[in-house]
Structures are given as C-alpha cells and as structure tokens.
C-alpha cells in the first residue's frame, strides 16, 4: 500500500490524473473516485426533482442545519458513554437536525407572513450559528477527539473507506429506483400538483419521500464534499441539464450524468496533485459543465440563441431588400440607394446582397439590381403581410391608424402562413389587394 502511494507520488501530475480517471491511480484514489461519482449520480437525480419543485435552496438550509445535530449527537453520546465518533449516531443527529430545520422553514412560511427566502436564510444561519456554539462546547469536552466534526463542514474525501463507497452505492441505488418507480407522481408534483391531488394521487407522501431523498443525499455528501458545498451537487447538475432538455424524463439522466462526471473528474483532478481539496474541485467541475452547457446547448445555449437572432436579422434585411425592389419599377436599381433608405452601412449592405443572391432573390449587378421572379413574389408577400397586420391592428386591436406602421414593420416578417390565411379570412381579400400605399 505504502509502495503504491509512493509510486503515485512520484509520477507527473498528468499521468496521475489519467491514472485516477482510469481507476488505476491506486486503491485509495479509486475509492474516492468511485464514491464521489456515485454521490454525484444520486445528487443529480434527486436534485432535478428538487429544482423543478422550486426547492433548490431548501437543501442548502438542510445541509447547514446538520452542524448542530452532529455536535449535539457527539455531546449526547459522550454523556451516554458511547464512543464519540460512532458515525451512525452522528448521522442520526445530523439527520434529525436537518429535518428539524426543514420543518422550521415550513412552519415559518405557513404561520407567519415571511417568505421562503427569509425562512431559508434564517434557518441556515441560525442553525449553523448554534452548531458553532456547540462545536465550542465539544472542543473542550474531556473526550474531545472532535476534530472529525469540523471535517464535515468542508468535507474530507480523503478519509473515504470502501465501506463508504458501498453506502454511497446504496444511496445512489435508492435515488435511481425512487426516480424510476415514482416518475409519474414526481412529475405531477413538480408540474401540476393541483391536478395530481384532484385525481387522488398521494402527493403529500411523494413530497415527503422527495424531501427524505434530499436529506439522504445531504447526509451522504457530508463526508466528501461537506455541508457547505453539497448543495452545489444538488443544484448545478440539474441546472446544466435544464439547458439540454426541458423534458423531465431526459433531464434526470442528463443531470445524473453531469453529477457523476463531476464527481469522477473532480476527484481524479484532486487526486493528481497535492493541495487540491476534493469537494471544491468537484463543484468547480460541475460549474464548468454548467457554463459550457449555458454556452453550447443546442436550443437554449447562448451561442444557439445568438445564431438564431443573427439569422433572423439577416432574413429581415433580405426581406427589406426585396420589398424595396418590388416597390420600384424593374429598370434595375443601385444597392446604394436602398442602403441609404434603410440606413445600412457598406459592409451590411454587401452582406445582405450576398445573402439575397444566395437565395436567388435578386439578379443583376449591384448598380442595377432587379428582383428575380421569386424575389418579386417574396417582396410582394412581405408588403401584403404588412398591410394585413396594419388592417388587423386598426380594425380589431383598435390601434390608431397613425400608430400602426411601427409594429407592422416588425411583425410583417414573422407572420406564419396560417396566420396570414386567418387574417385574409377575417379581413376580406379587398384589404390585402387594395392599391393603397403600404
């Protein structure tokens, strides 16, 4: 064992990272990697439901509230003569205190006029403060081997044993099993609680189970990521999953994947170099995945929305070009005159022209542009939309005729074919085909 550790110490960091990732970084590193991966999976699954139920920070309050439970359990066990570090007892105390914190939040929200934000902030800080006071008592306890308690604030993954990995596997198994068996009920709870109650589903019990699962993950995370950061594992992977899908059946596995990957990669990085604590490393990997998702996700990512916006803007500019050409006679017009009218700079005008040419909407040199038959048809369609929308605004939305041009200018590009048909039906053909100025 010592020999393995020594060998690990000597290898360069890159090799050690690879070893840890491939589970060949030595017995100890492998234990930690497996354990935190399982924790990440459990947290991803449970956290998704917590997030969708808008309870993301309830877990934070619960996690903070474990501290007085840990310290209190230590003291109580001391009086009872049980060895102070007996961990089932400590976990029991932590769980009780966390449950008490959650109940306190409910009581504050129900019995007073304070909102959930105040309740969560209060429970989080007051319980943790009480825990700090109790830690002070523990520190001068005659059996004061209490340093282990403070470990659970920031987490100490290095102390993870194979037995802990088995426990974490059980926790992950319970989380996945509950998600699979109760998916229907959990979905109702998250999206349509009232409907679920009306059709007689026991949603109160399902809510309690979800709360129990959240507490379970919090307790499971105390040892490795610690009570301050465990909420990161419960919140960040589901938030990242939300960028990739808005269907719960997909969000849950994606969040599990992100959580598991964060645990795996984070603990491997942490094992590859000294002085890289595991809990923060895992949370930072998760946060990087979140940022990458927010940037790169196909529909809701920043890049995708920017691309959509650009292509829309280009389409509108092309619309304007063919609209302007369709209003003129077909002798051929210079691009510059249209650009002046629209306020386009030279570069913009060139880009618009290129796009219009690529779509085969205009022909001729840029000094004498003419619309192709297709371009003419599109220009006329845009003018027709403009007029239809204006007529609609004046007749049905009762907007003053002098005020409609501005909105019509924007909406003319966005009208879907079926809306145009609907407008034609309700406004009559004569509005669309009258010869008046658009």
């Amino acid at each position: 064992m010592i020999a393995i550790l020594a060998a690990v110490e000597e290898a360069p960091a890159g090799v050690r990272l690879l070893d840890a990732l491939l589970l060949s970084g030595g017995f100890h590193a492998t234990t930690v990697v497996l354990g935190t991966t399982l924790l990440g999976i459990a947290a991803g699954v449970v956290g998704t439901f917590g997030l969708l139920r808008r309870r993301a920070l309830l877990a934070d309050a619960a996690a903070h509230a474990t501290l007085p439970g840990l310290a209190g359990a230590f003291l109580v066990m001391g009086w009872l003569g049980i060895e102070g570090r007996w961990s089932p007892g400590l976990l029991l105390g932590a769980g009780l205190a966390a449950a008490l914190g959650v109940l306190a939040i409910r009581a504050i929200v129900r019995a007073t006029r304070l909102g959930e934000d105040a309740a969560i902030g209060t429970v989080l800080s007051v319980f943790f403060g009480a825990g700090m006071v109790l830690l002070g008592v523990v520190a001068r306890h005659p059996r004061g081997e209490a340093a282990g308690l403070e470990d659970s604030i920031f987490g100490a993954a290095a102390t993870m044993l194979p037995g802990d990995v088995v426990l974490l596997a059980v926790v992950a198994g319970i989380a996945v099993l509950a998600a699979v068996l109760l998916l229907k009920e959990l979905r109702l709870l998250c999206f349509d609680e009232e409907f679920g109650r009306v059709i007689g589903r026991p949603l109160g019990a399902v809510d309690a189970i979800l709360l129990g699962l959240i507490l379970l993950v919090v307790l499971a995370g105390l040892g490795s990521v610690g009570m301050l950061l465990v909420v990161g594992l419960l919140v960040i992977p589901p938030a990242a999953a939300g960028f990739w899908s808005d269907r719960i059946g997909r969000m849950v596995p994606i969040a599990a994947l992100v959580g598991g990957a964060s645990g795996w990669i984070g603990s491997a990085i942490s094992a590859s170099a000294p002085r890289l604590p595991t809990g923060p490393m895992i949370v930072l990997v998760a946060a990087s995945i979140l940022v990458a998702s927010a940037l790169l996700a196909p529909r809701r990512g920043v890049l995708a929305t920017a691309a959509t916006r650009i292509s829309l803007r280009r389409r509108i500019a092309v619309d304007h070009l063919v609209e302007a050409l369709s209003e003129r006679d077909d002798r051929g017009w210079p691009l510059a005159s249209i650009a002046r009218e629209r306020g386009w700079g030279g570069a913009t005008a060139a880009l618009v022209l290129r796009a219009a040419r690529m779509e085969g909407l205009v022909a001729g040199p840029s000094t004498a542009l003419r619309p192709t038959p297709r371009g003419l048809a599109r220009g006329l369609a845009v003018r027709r939309n403009h007029r239809l929308w204006k007529a609609y605004l004046v007749r049905f939305a009762e907007v003053a005729p002098s005020h409609v041009d501005l909105t019509a200018e924007r909406v003319e590009h966005l009208l879907a074919p079926e809306i145009v048909r609907e407008l034609e039906r309700s406004l009559g053909e004569e509005v669309a085909s009258d010869g008046g100025r658009s």
């Binding site: 105040a118 209060t122 009480a130 002070g136 403070e150 950061l229």
Partner: protein, 438 residues
C-alpha cells in the same frame, strides 16, 4: 488600564461594537432585500466574496485592507452578474443563486488551500465563523481614551465597518423615497420615468459593501444572519417601512450585544471558556425572531390564534342562538319535533354560552332567550332562510343541499354581508316562514 473595566475595554468592547456596526450595515439593505423576496441574494453574496478576497490577499501579499476589500467587492458583483446571467438563460432563480455561490465558494476554498494563502493568516474556518474573538483594543496607557492616538489603535475591521455603516445609512436615508418606490411599485416608478433597475443595482452594491465589510470580522454565517433575521423580525413587528428599517438595525445591534455577552462574557464569568461569539449572536437572533413571530402585535402567531378562537366562539354562539330560536319557533307553532342541537366540543360550548350571556341573548345557566336574544335570533334565522332561498331559486341548487352552506353564510352578518332580499319572499325552500325584517 486594568481591572474588569480595562478587560472589558480591551477584549469585549471592540467585538461588540464591530458586530453592532455590521448589524446596522446589514440590516438596512437586508430589509429591502427581504421585502423584494430576495433575502437569499444576500446569502449568495456572503458566500461569493471568498475568491476575490483570497486573490486580493495573494496580490497584496498580506492582510492589507485595500486589495482584499476591492477583490471581495469585485467578486460579489461578479456573482450578482453571474446569477442574473443564469436567470436570463432560463435557470430557476434559487438554482441560479445556489449554483453561483457554491461555485464561487468552491473556487475560494481551492485558492485558499492551493495557494498557500492559508499559511498567511486566512483559513476556511475563520471565513465561516469570523474573527470577533481576535479583535482587541489596546489604547496607549498615557493617553485619554478618546484621543486620536487611542482611537487609531482600534482594529482596522472596526474602522472599515464604521465607514461602511455610515455610508449605507446615509445613502438609505437620502434615497429613501426611491428605495420605497422601487421596492413596492417598480412598474409605477418605471412609468413615472425613473429607473428602478438603477435602484436595484444600488441595493445590490450596498449589500455587497455591507457583506464585504462585515465578512472578515463576523464571518459568513453571521453576515447571513444579520442580513435576514433582524429584517424578518422587524417585518413581523411593523408595517411601516421606515420603522422596519430602524427596528431591524436595533434588533441586529441587540443580538450582537446580547450574543457576545451570552457567548463570551457569561461563560467566562461562570469560570468556563468563551464560546463562539458569532455563533451565539446568530442563535440569539434566531431566538429573538421566534419570540417576535409569537408575540408580534398584528402578525404574531398568538394574536392570530386568539383572533381565530374569537371567530370560532362567536360562530358557535350564533349557532346556539339559532338553535334555541328554532326550538321556540316550533314550540310556538305547537310542534313536538325539535331540531338537532349544534354539536360543539365542551370547551367551545362553554365559551359560546358565556359569549351569548355577555351579549344579553340569554342569562347564564338558562336556556330561555331574552327579548334581545329573540330579536337577534330572528334576524339570524331570517338571514339563514334568505340564503337558502337565494341558493335554491337564484343559483339553482337542490333544496336538500343548501342547509350546510347557509349555516356558514349566515355568520357573514357580523361582517355586514346580508343575503339578497327580494320583495315577497316569505317561505324558505323547505316551506318554513322567513321571519320578517322587523
């Protein structure tokens, strides 16, 4: 200076004064945040200052004030921006906050552990629980206490907080109208041509300043407690905004003083060692909030329970009155059947008897109605039967379905709500006469 007074001046005055200043600096923005239901934003900022603080520390090479302060403030504002960015991307608000502050906290811890800054003199535990215990004041012996030299010996954290608290209070006083408008009616403010978003940005900045200034001395946990708990207690005690701000600051200061006395001074006086000051302050604040929630004059739980009990007693007394009136009505018409008496639990029944006796409906211990009781009972039964008529004839309900609803509606008389009373209605749906109005 020696003796107990000198000890107090050296060891206790500065922690108390520092925490009190932190309480004031936090209570002011905390009140507005709470009213906007953004209490957790303060919580997030309190956690998110760490990486900036550490970077500032590393750059300046020691605990020199300026760089750390600037770093922490930059980090807080970056976190606010990150939260806004995630929310814009569609992440649920609580999750956006949770993801941001855990990521920032993780980065901070990693920087702290990885860079060796820990060795300088900042460690994670200190970040959490503050360093109130290590603040002391040793004024030069040969100078009066209020001389410039003595005051210059005050710790830096105290002086920074003095400035920040003063600035926060002055800014809040100067911009009170704007803050109120932006808190309660941002749309109106927008329409009136002012910029609520600017006020919100200012509020975030003030929160960040208060957090950053308080953080080093009192620690994350107490900062969160000071931001949320006094404001929550004040919100329960009053509806007036200005009173609420002042009250929140006062409660915070009271908690700071009391917490230090209970946590540090009292245990020492009893011959023990002092406990965590910040922890006992947070705990005491929690206790004060609990007391406020119980005994607050308008929104307190006890007041609300008493009000509910009064309504229950009055309702029961009216039910008793209606039953006795119906008994006498049947006796007058020489009928032998008797209506069912209202089923009341014994305690409520006694209270209802006493209530009716007080109102002069009957004399205590006797069943017979007084003339006043007969009059009141007649009005009550009239209301009941008119409601039944309304439910059947105007709303189309079945005659055998309306009694229970009418039993509830008849009590609305005490709120001045009477049933519709069309001319010529003389019988209720069961064919019983509707008593005349007078």
């Amino acid at each position: 200076m020696t003796g107990p007074l000198g000890e107090f001046l050296t060891l206790d005055l500065v922690p108390i004064a520092t925490a009190s200043l932190a309480a004031v600096a936090c209570a002011v923005p905390g009140t507005f945040l709470l009213l906007r239901r953004e209490g957790l934003l303060g919580d997030s900022i309190a956690h998110a200052v760490l990486p900036g603080l550490v970077i500032g520390l590393l750059l300046s090479g020691g605990l020199a004030g300026g760089a750390m302060f600037a770093g922490a403030a930059a980090s807080a504002l970056l976190a606010v921006g990150a939260i806004a960015w995630l929310r814009q991307g569609g992440v649920e608000p609580q999750a956006a906050m949770g993801a941001t502050f855990t990521a920032f906290l993780a980065a901070g811890i990693l920087l702290l552990e990885g860079s060796g800054a820990r060795a300088v003199d900042l460690d994670p535990d200190c970040v959490i629980s503050g360093s109130l215990e290590s603040l002391f004041w040793i004024p030069p012996v040969d100078r009066p206490l209020l001389s410039l030299e003595s005051l210059a010996a005050l710790p830096r954290a105290f002086l920074v907080l003095l400035v920040v608290a003063l600035l926060v209070v002055l800014a809040a006083a100067a911009l009170f109208k704007e803050l109120r408008a932006a808190t309660f009616d941002p749309e109106f403010m927008q329409v009136a041509g002012r910029r609520p978003a600017l006020v919100h940005a200012g509020l975030s900045t003030a929160t960040a300043a208060a957090v950053v200034a308080s953080f080093e001395a009192v620690g994350t946990v107490l900062v969160v407690a000071l931001l949320v708990v006094p404001a929550a207690a004040a919100r329960l005690l009053t509806d007036r905004l200005a009173t609420q701000v002042v009250l929140a600051a006062a409660i915070g200061v009271l908690g700071a003083i009391g917490g230090h006395l209970l946590g540090a001074v009292l245990p020492e006086a009893l011959g023990g060692e002092s406990l965590s000051s910040a922890g006992s302050m947070a705990t005491l604040l929690g206790a004060m909030l609990a007391i406020a929630a119980l005994v607050a004059p308008e929104h307190g739980i006890l007041v609300r329970l008493r009000r509910r009990r009064q309504v229950a007693v009055q309702t029961a007394a009216e039910d008793l009155l209606g039953w006795r009136w119906r008994v006498e009505e049947l006796a007058r018409r020489a009928r032998r059947d008797r209506p069912e008496p209202p089923s009341l639990d014994p305690g409520l029944g006694r209270a209802a008897e006493a209530h009716g006796a007080r109102r002069g409906w009957w004399s205590a211990g006797e069943g017979a109605l007084t003339p006043r009781g007969l009059e009141e009972g007649r009005r009550l039964v009239r209301s009941h039967r008119l409601w039944e008529r309304y439910l059947v004839e105007d709303l189309g309900l079945r005659a055998d379905h309306v009694h229970d609803t009418a039993m509830v509606l008849e009590h609305l008389r005490s709120l001045g709500i009477e049933p519709p009373d069309p001319a010529g209605a003389s019988l209720d749906p069961q064919g019983r006469p509707i008593p005349r109005a007078s």
